[in-house]
Amino acid sequence: MSATIESMAEAIAAQLTTAGIRSTPYLGDTFTPPIALVAIKDVTYHEAFGVYPLGMYRFDVYLICARPSDRAGIQAIEAYMSSSGTSSIRATLEADPTWGGVVENAIVRSSGPMAGISLGASGAVYVSVPFTVEAYTS
């Protein structure tokens, strides 16, 4: 099995989108929250011997949510960060840990911490949470 970083990022975005979490496989300049933005973080090569050796690919998935109010914003983030539930990013990405056969195995390692960010000319405040996702493939 051999996959490009681009195909893995697209697979993450597709899996999140299928679960109703709008997502793009890149860090776009403009976007409308709520959205999950996928970005490669780092790669560890040579996890095993071979011409096309097993590698560990670590992605950051930045979940950005609007804050219509303190309570509603936090509740949305809590649902995304929960280990289970229809909005759970961990459960969504690990439901098929091969992401449709793109990688050999994947795991959502951690999420958080959340942080407030301001976007656009208006400086509207949003909440951002990074998720660390690891994928193993040749």
Partner: protein
């Protein structure tokens, strides 16, 4: 003087190429140290005794058909052929094939912590000599 960063060796066990499921391999040749010192000498005298060789391997576990578990599990308690070559390519004087017979005395099909890559390491005694082939 050259050096080698080992990334693409060839490792076969029971004629199955498991290279891409291995991240560590060691062939260890040891001979017993026989003391043959006698009176009248100022220093100890030594001779090489019987060899006691070992093969250590660390697998990234895979339970698919033709992979690690299906290859190793049936071998537990029996002997099997192993070959190790530094570079997966033509055999030569600078790329020898080490071949030997191991006794599969231990095997851990599951040896992992939660969320970690499932690995399994084993050290098996080599029965007989380690042969270094260059052709």
């Amino acid at each position: 003087m050259g050096s080698l960063i080992l990334t693409n060796p060839k490792i076969t066990i029971n004629s199955v190429d498991l290279t891409t499921h291995v991240d560590q391999v060691t062939i260890e040749q040891n001979l017993a140290d026989i003391d043959v010192s006698t009176f009248g000498t100022a220093s100890k005298l030594h001779l090489a005794g019987l060899s006691d060789n070992k093969f250590t391997v660390s697998f990234l576990m895979d339970f698919a058909v033709g992979s690690v578990d299906q290859t190793i599990y049936p071998l537990v308690g029996s002997t099997t052929n192993v070959t190790v070559q530094p570079v997966n390519g033509a055999t030569s004087s600078s790329n020898p094939v080490y071949s030997f017979v191991v006794v599969v005395l231990d095997y851990k099909p599951i040896d992992a912590a939660v969320g970690a890559v499932s690995k399994s390491a084993a050290t098996w005694p080599i029965s007989g000599v380690v042969t270094r082939n260059i052709t």
